[in-house]
Subunit: 168 residues, 2 copies
């Protein structure tokens, strides 16, 4: 079986969003155990002008659902980006995963060649499906999942590579 666009997108997003939820569990447990304000962890960032943990999670969710929508022509659900607790961020991930789980492999047929155009700020970006997935959606998705990990790790949450990968 050749590699499918579905596997290279949906299965990757599902697995790594699950790991992101696990990382948030670890963050929440650490806040409780260390007597830290959970809100401080959720608002933590690696540089003053970088986005906080909450936003990294929201964008990881957006990157995954928008990629699947653009590759299939379906419409992704829209969320308000108002999550401010660990529970709310995990619920955001859960509903993103639920929507992704409802997509069929068939919906991704020929998505390698599908025209994908959208605006990023003022710039119109034009891709074909394969290049969009490999050189925009996946790098972006992993950027935000990893930066969420790096923020938690920087703030002392006891996590390691296995918590990110989901296996040894």
């Amino acid at each position: 079986m050749p590699l499918s666009m579905y596997d290279a997108s949906v299965t990757v997003f599902l697995h790594n969003l699950n790991q992101l939820s696990h990382l948030l569990d670890k963050g929440q447990a650490h806040a409780t155990a260390a007597g830290l304000d959970p809100a401080a962890l959720i608002g933590a960032r690696l540089a003053e002008d970088m986005l906080p943990l909450s936003k990294q999670v929201q964008i990881a969710s957006d990157t995954a659902k928008l990629a699947a929508a653009r590759l299939t022509g379906l419409t992704a659900p829209s969320y308000e980006d108002n999550e401010s607790t660990f529970e709310e961020l995990k619920a955001r991930i859960a509903k993103t995963r639920e929507w992704l789980q409802g997509l069929s492999r068939e919906a991704f047929a020929a998505s390698e060649e599908r025209a994908v155009s959208f605006k990023a700020g003022p710039t119109e970006l034009n891709f074909v499906g394969q290049g969009y997935l490999l050189h925009f959606a996946l790098p972006n998705f992993f950027f935000h999942v990893t930066t969420a990990y790096d923020i938690l790790r920087h703030k002392g949450v006891p996590i390691g590579k296995r918590d990110y990968l989901g296996r040894a």
Copy 2:
């Protein structure tokens, strides 16, 4: 054309290693402009028990060349992990890219189904090619490239998402 294992591995590694070299250029220029010790930036980490920038670059290189080797049955070049300057780290990336550029698409034929087994510490990991690429090699590769970015950004290097993605 269906998605190929070559495109989902080699072209992704080549592009993002090039961006990693660009991020190091930005770090080097910032050290010069701000009068910082380049060695301090190369040794910077996000947590005391996390790996420094130099090691993130070395592992990004390793992840890319080992993935290509394991998917093709070829032997990856071995490097000494002794790079300690921006120039040396960029040379490490350049030689990794040069080796990847020499691989043929044909070498990746049927690599979706290839058995991939190796030791990670004491643990023997067993994959088939597709799962290895999607759920181990790519997440690991992007983890180290992004963490290199996050270390530089945390230390004040003026970089943004475009410097990571290589496009708007």
